[in-house]
């Protein structure tokens, strides 16, 4: 079923007829330009004086052609500033396109910001009523759904307390409850689910699944490919205001990941140039230099995928002779979790360097075939210790010497480490089913 929709979405790139038909949302060449002024007063001059327009145009969204069939769940993905939020504002009708047309069918509820319009001094109960009327519900409709909203939000006695006493999670819960209980035909969600505890997140996803089953249209915006992939079959990739690619989640995910690699590399290279800011200490006979990371081949990278080869190369130079130096590397997750630490000496087959003469140059490498880390940001600490003494003393200890990132398109496992699990299901009276990978 979905394939035909995909075909239609592609064919819909240049629709000819004007009717919406079975589409929930159609955009034809929709573009949005903002005018940026060097000085705020120029905006006023533009309003009242001739000789304009002043300021520069900035096209946040350009030439968007979309045809979203009723009942589809579509993900919009792109980096920060790709025009996702502006596109959503256009689709919801909050702002009008500068050029082009956008047509929608049915009531739209947008979760661009949960609880927009909550008043901090009033109780949750009063804010529900207020928010319902902001979302365009009549008093009768509000009454009919009131109890359901209260129950779904799970606020308990807090429902009668002022919203200013709520935690951000409670705030989101109330906002989500209201927005999804108004029974929209089209639901638009802008990374709203990123807050809230796991239990409530589960409830939200259940409710979104109910929406899909009821044949309602859902638009889901995120820059997290993982959540998009789990929710949507059809994905639209945006870049610099344009639709770069649209199609099935798998095809778009590959393109997205390829871009994320390049972008991540640029960003992390910039970070790695600033690692001098982190603590470094030691007696200094040996100094470590450039640190390079490799996936495969000899092209340094800072972005990896789980299961890809991983190799760290650390340059060093001895400014003075020293006995038994040992190089080590520590791997940390960005939150400081110590993932692993190793050196070339404490091994079944240790490498003993003995005396290293003054002026020696070279590099050490630490590698493994399959990187077991899952998606996240990590950093390395690099150290040289003098093992010639009873207790090793630091020669060159560098905290946070290099950063890298792991991107995961497949999200087969969650958490910190990929474990080579083996699964089997044994139903009585049937052959056991086994998954080795």
């Amino acid at each position: 079923m979905y394939d035909t929709e995909t075909e239609r979405a592609k064919a819909g790139s240049r629709p000819e007829s004007a009717g919406l038909g079975s589409s929930a949302i159609i955009a034809r060449g929709a573009s949005k330009a903002y005018r940026l002024y060097d000085k705020p007063i120029h905006r006023l001059w533009d309003l009242i004086l001739p000789g304009g327009p002043r300021g520069r145009e900035f096209w946040a969204v350009r030439d968007v052609y979309l045809d979203i069939p009723q009942g589809a769940t579509v993900g919009i993905i792109g980096e920060n500033g790709a025009g996702k939020s502006t596109l959503l504002k256009l689709l919801t009708g909050i702002t009008q396109p500068t050029t082009g047309v956008i047509e929608t069918e049915g009531r739209i509820a947008s979760l661009l910001e949960l609880g927009a319009g909550f008043h901090p001094e009033f109780s949750g109960r009063e804010n529900i009523r207020l928010n319902c009327s902001i979302l365009g519900m009549s008093d009768e409709e509000t009454e009919a759904r009131f109890q359901e909203i209260v129950e779904f939000s799970e606020l308990g006695e807090f429902i009668d307390r002022p919203v200013k006493t709520y935690s951000s999670g409670m705030h989101v819960r109330l906002g989500f409850s209201v927005a999804t209980t108004v029974d929209p035909d089209i639901l638009i969600i802008d990374e709203a689910l990123s807050v809230g505890d796991e239990h409530f997140k589960g409830k939200c996803i259940n409710r979104l699944n109910d929406f899909q089953e009821m044949g309602k249209t859902t638009l889901f915006v995120s820059h997290d490919m993982g959540s998009i992939k789990s929710m949507c079959k059809h994905v639209v990739l945006m870049h610099e205001g344009r639709i770069l690619e649209q199609g099935t989640a798998e095809t778009v995910a590959d393109e997205y990941l390829r871009r994320a690699h390049t972008r991540g590399n640029e960003r992390i290279s910039a970070i790695n140039r600033q690692t001098d800011a982190y603590p470094r200490w030691g007696s200094g006979e040996i100094e470590t230099g450039g640190i390079e990371l490799f996936a495969d081949g000899n092209e340094p990278t800072n972005v990896f995928e789980p299961g890809s080869p991983f190799r760290v190369r650390v340059q060093f130079e001895a400014h003075d002779s020293c006995d038994e130096p040992v190089f080590g590397i520590g791997v940390y997750r960005s939150d400081g979790t110590y993932v692993n630490g190793s050196n070339h000496f404490w091994r079944r087959e240790p490498i003993e360097l003995g005396r290293v003469a003054k002026g020696t140059k070279g590099h050490v490498e630490m590698a493994f075939e399959k990187l077991p880390l899952l998606q996240g940001s990590y950093y390395l600490s690099v150290f040289v210790y003098d093992h010639g003494k009873a207790a090793p003393t630091p020669i060159d200890h560098r905290e946070h010497a290099a950063a890298f990132e792991v991107l995961d398109a497949n999200h087969l496992q969650h958490g910190l480490l990929f474990l080579p699990t083996r699964w089997s299901v044994h139903a009585e009276g049937a052959e056991p089913r086994i998954s080795a990978e």
Partner: protein
Amino acid sequence: MIQLLGNLAQNRSLLRTFVARDLRARYVGSSLGFFWSVIYPIMNLAVYLLVFQVILKMTWGPDKSPQEVVLLMLVSIVAWTAFSEGISRSTNVLVDHQNLIQKVVFPSEVLPAFVVSSAMINMVVALPIVIGVLFYAMLNPSEDPAVIAAAAASGHRGVQIGAQLLWVPVLLVLQTIFTVGLGYFFATFNLYWRDTFHVMGVALTVWMFITPIFYPAQRMIDQGYSWMLEINPMHWLMEMYRDVFAANQAPDPELLVRFAIASVAALFLGATFFDRQRSRFPDLL
């Protein structure tokens, strides 16, 4: 303008919710609650009485008793407070509620309308105190022989109460239309030039002092500034309120027509400007 009023009528339940929320928000957490609507003008009156009557010894004419002066000032203070609060809050109301404009599809014409309505309701709540002073002044006419003699000579009847108070709702409606019209205009203008909000603070103070509120209009005429009164709709309104409240006189028909025209013109101007620019609001915030 017609379309905007139609939208307002359509969203009246939302407007009602907002006004109720605003009135309650004013006093949530304060121990005196709604009494502040009454206390506030009295405090203001006390301050201005101290400055203008006790320190500056402003004379209002030989035929006016102190009770009448208090009444004249109180009426004007109450009306001016509602007007200036409505305007200054309207000016920033779109910015204050940018969340609603940028994050949901929201009928933004509700916003200036609700702050002005809220200010006007606040004024109505304070009116009983005006009526109270009115009764007091009528039941305790001046016993100063000089005032009695002057009043007899000029034919001034002193404080009267009567059926002309029925004009008050008409004046209230006209004041609301005038305030809302200006409110729509400045709310929109403020998006193009954010300094409007600050300028309005100063402008309203200047406007207050060039409108005869704390002194009789005659003082301005004597000083050769009668043209200022001629072009100041708020002066026309104040005169009418004073006639109705203090003298039991119907408003001067000329002033009434002039103010009605000014009100409709203000609403037309404000609503048209607001309506023309509203599609750009989300981009301007």
